[in-house]
């Protein structure tokens, strides 16, 4: 295999790229300015050393704990539980949420071998026991897996005296949080529904 074929193969493994668009990108890189290519290679090569999951909340950060966890201006009685680190960015960017976050690392799906043991529920319980949380917003995706994960959280936190709500209307059924536009999300955070038993 020559260098070009290797590059195309590697690019095609990125989500959303097929063989066609991968080869278009590869030819684009061959023709683009070499300084740009060096910067890109450097950025890709070091991304995992520079950015890692926050040891407290699990979202991506360059320093540990992350700026959100350290931010004294945030409401420490409020926790928003999400599936993925990128969901933290989406909700933080909506501008209508000022509490802390917790990343589970996915949603419950036995079909894909993801049971409670594979997600960060333990860290969550520890934070609840040691912190001063009064309210939790469950922002798992509006999918069967997200629903089941929300139900599991409710079951897990029974008796902890924490008000629970679930992001509700506006999100497309079966859709991903990542793609929800900001306005819908902002509305959804305001219109969250009570999820306590």
């Amino acid at each position: 295999m020559n260098a070009l074929e290797t590059l195309i193969k590697l690019l095609a493994r990125l989500p959303g790229l097929g063989p066609k668009s991968a080869s278009r990108l590869a030819y684009h890189l061959i023709n683009s300015d070499s300084h740009y290519n060096e910067l890109l290679a450097e950025a890709i090569g070091t991304i995992q050393e520079v950015i890692f999951p926050c040891s407290v909340c699990g979202s991506f950060t360059e320093s540990d704990p992350c700026p959100i966890c350290l931010d004294e201006g945030r409401d420490r009685s409020l926790m928003c539980v999400v599936e993925q680190p990128q969901d933290v960015l989406t909700i933080a960017a909506s501008g209508s949420y000022n509490g802390l976050f917790h990343v589970l690392g996915g949603a419950l799906s036995p079909l894909e071998g993801i049971g409670p043991d594979k997600l960060n529920f333990e860290g969550l319980l520890k934070r609840i026991d040691e912190g001063s949380f009064k309210e939790m917003i469950i922002a798992t995706n509006p999918t069967e897996e997200g629903d089941t994960t929300a139900l599991y959280l409710r079951h897990l936190l029974k008796g902890k005296n924490i008000a629970m709500s679930r992001l509700a209307s506006g999100l497309p059924i079966g859709g991903d949080l990542e793609y929800a536009d900001r306005l819908t999300l902002a509305r959804s955070i305001r219109g969250r529904v009570d999820f306590s038993d």
């Binding site: 071998g113 139900l151 599991y152």
Partner: protein, 361 residues
Amino acid sequence: MKFRSLGFHNFRNLEDSLIPTEAKHVVLVGSNGQGKTNFLEALYLLCYGSSFRAVTLNDVCRHGEKNFSLTAVVEDEDGSNQNLFLRYSDAKREIRIDGKEIKDRRDLIYNIPCIVFSHDDIEFIRGTPESRRRFFDQTLSLYDPLYFDDLRRYRALLKQRNAAIKEDYIALLDLYNAQLAEVGYAIQTRRREAVEEFNAIFTPLYNKISRGESGMKIVYKASWDECHSPSEIVTKLENSLARDMRQQTTTCGVHRDQFTLMDGRVNFSVSGSTGQMRLASLIFRIVQIETYRQKGKKSPILLVDDVLLEMDTERRGEFLKELSGYSQAFFTFLPEEQYFAKFDNSSALIYSVEEGRFVGQ
């Protein structure tokens, strides 16, 4: 709704062309293997994104090709036009309505209501309980998007529950039980209503066309028959846990519901003759049309493929007389068949089909 034209490229044995279809009845006449059913298949693909035959999209490309495309102009009830486009290439399907790409199949299937009469329909009568369950799921989904969603959700939850059993995630079973009970109860209730409505049309119509006095009807036996609320279903699921663990699957639920066609006290799937079963299967479809017309408040498009052959002239006449309530219908016939009684020249477009070519009569 009405197809005004249908165009195809690289599709099965059909010669690349654009065929006008602007008539209430479109009749395709030709010997077997000339392309009549392929034409209907193309229409169906534009309505639902998949074939009514058990094939993949790769199989419907012309021999030796790896892509195909279909186009159609459809006239809506209000007289406006809609442009449909389906392309399959690079093993990917792309569907557009008026240029806008359709991502979720749900947005497609409620666009154009279309009902096929196919040779395999006899399986609704002769086949297993699953085949009749499929018929009722289809009938309900056609006019009720909520039922379609419930069914999709139930299947997803069932798969997860079965996986939880296999992977030994017992702590999760309570959660799946609660969700399955909720959505399963809704499905069971809707099915019970649907069977009652079905029988109210089916029994008298079968008697009329067959000139008989039988009490033919569907008997619905739900797996959770004795449960009258989601919480009773949860209890039932909890009680069947030991058996579920032993068999490594969910042993009760709406996926096990039974629909039996009874002729008095006799199971018609066993006792009926081929001719009777064919007739019954045609009436199943007529009931589907009628139900859709009443509930969906729209008239469907019909694709009638080679299903009249096994019936005598008299029954065939009766059947065609009862076939109504549609906005447009496509029929296939063999050259030697008599079919013209129903289709006078003013309402019908007649094509003879030979080796994938369509010639107007």
